[in-house]
């Protein structure tokens, strides 16, 4: 089914509903299109009991509703400036010639009968994530880095939409692999740890997005691959820190990725209210060429107010751009146990960041 058909279908359904006096429902249709698509999928599932072709409608709407809800809700909220890209299942129709359906050189994925809808969801999600996530950055990273990121994001889609099949997915795609795939499992475990601390999408994927935006052309450079490995290790070790552990490295000063994590959480410091130590620290970071500053702290009124003052002062002093802010649940470690904490994250960006237009720039960067 193509985009026009889906748009037409939406209009027809909206008109039918409005005919029966459902103005509010129309509003819901346009405000929560993914939810509505899931309801339409259920309707088609029912229809498919009597009408065989309804299966295709059910399969397509069900996958679209689930994957698009994840991309629209999760990815666009967690990654700033992420242009959400949704999925659309386009069936090969009867009467099409091979030239027509292979005209764009694309792969055709087999969808099984609706009894195997979980397999269909995995197949479509794998194809979709491979082709849509981090398109730019993936040109510069290794196969195992790419593959592990894709698997982790598909795992997140499944966890969000079909948690019952996650174990099977992990068994099949991670643990049943031969030894050469061990690297992917290792990355996956690291992402899991980073994600528990709430840093996978808003910091790691965000930094990967920045990386893709700042390198132009050029070949895959081993230096970038090594740096991404180091960044993963850095974020993993940061995610494993215990509350109050100050000795840990807080800045990642690579050649391509340069960012710092600042925790503002100590009640005593916040209570005193002096922003000076933090603004001076930020000044030092800027002097060292740090491009992105992630300020993290408990999402409590007093703390939020203090972070706001720090960021306002730093922005004034160094023309930093307030790039993103969000609240989320992080699982941080206290006395060896992970506890859930409502957390606030603020991202500040230095407008004077380095871009790498060609291999000469890249050589300079790694000297």
């Amino acid at each position: 089914m193509n985009m026009e058909n889906w748009e037409l279908e939406k209009v027809i359904i909206s008109s039918m509903i409005s005919f029966f006096g459902g103005g509010i429902v129309i509003l819901v249709l346009f405000l929560f299109p993914e939810k509505v698509e899931k309801w339409i999928a259920l309707l088609w599932k029912l229809i498919s009991l009597f009408y065989k072709e309804g299966q295709k409608k059910y399969i397509a709407h069900d996958i679209q509703g689930k994957v698009n809800e994840f991309t629209n809700k999760k990815l666009s909220q967690e990654i700033k400036n992420y242009t959400p890209v949704g999925i659309e299942i386009e069936w090969i129709e009867e009467g099409q010639t091979p030239e027509e359906f292979f005209s764009d050189n694309k792969v055709i994925i087999r969808m099984r009968k609706s009894e195997n809808q979980n397999k269909n969801l995995v197949a479509a999600s794998m194809a979709f994530v491979s082709q849509s996530l981090l398109r730019k950055a993936k040109k510069y990273i290794s196969d195992s880095q790419k593959e592990s990121i894709d698997l982790f994001v598909v795992n997140k889609i499944l966890k969000h939409e079909e948690p019952d099949i996650v174990d099977q997915f992990i068994q099949n795609f991670l643990f049943k692999m031969v030894d050469s795939r061990q690297k992917i499992s290792e990355f996956f475990e690291k992402y899991n740890c980073i994600d528990k601390a709430g840093l996978f999408f808003p910091v790691f994927i965000q930094e990967m997005t920045f990386l893709g935006e700042k390198i132009f052309g050029g070949r895959k450079d081993q230096q970038i691959i090594i740096e991404v490995n180091k960044m993963i290790d850095f974020l993993e070790s940061y995610s494993k820190r215990e509350i109050g552990e100050d000795e840990i490295e807080k800045n990642f000063e690579g050649n391509y990725c340069r960012f710092a994590l600042i925790i503002i959480a100590k009640a005593k410091k916040v209570g005193i209210g002096d922003t000076g130590p933090y603004t001076r620290y930020i000044e030092d970071l800027i002097r060292r060429g740090i491009e992105n500053i992630y300020i993290v702290g408990p999402s409590k009124a007093e703390n939020l107010n203090f972070i706001g003052r720090v960021s306002q002062q730093a922005s004034l002093d160094h023309k930093l751009e307030k790039y993103n802010e969000k609240e989320y649940k992080a699982y941080i470690i206290k006395k060896g146990e992970r506890i859930q904490v409502k957390t606030y994250l603020l991202v500040l960006r230095n407008p004077e960041r380095q871009y790498y237009f060609d291999s000469e720039d890249q050589r300079k960067a790694i000297q």
């Binding site: 999925i87 659309e88 194809a127």
Partner: protein, 80 residues
């Protein structure tokens, strides 16, 4: 929201598609091999199809082959 099209064939239409591509006999006679693992392809284990060098390549549904296909897609070999 922009939507990325994923082309799909349903089980109901798979045989017809193989017929249109003139490969249904080869698949039924087990003369077709998976692009990646070189294992025999049957109607039951087809996972994906794509054109390459004037031929139609088939990928079987082994987990390893699904992952290799994802890498292929990652390398932009089969997408826009």
């Amino acid at each position: 929201m922009e939507r990325k099209k994923i082309k799909a064939v349903h089980d109901f239409d798979l045989l017809k598609l193989l017929g249109t591509l003139n490969i249904s006999k080869d698949v039924k006679k087990k003369n077709k091999k998976c692009k990646f693992c070189r294992g025999i392809v049957t109607i039951k284990n087809i996972y994906a199809l794509f054109p390459e060098s004037g031929d139609i390549k088939i990928v079987c549904d082994k987990t390893e082959c699904i992952k290799v296909l994802s890498q292929y897609l990652n390398q932009n070999k089969l997408c826009d």
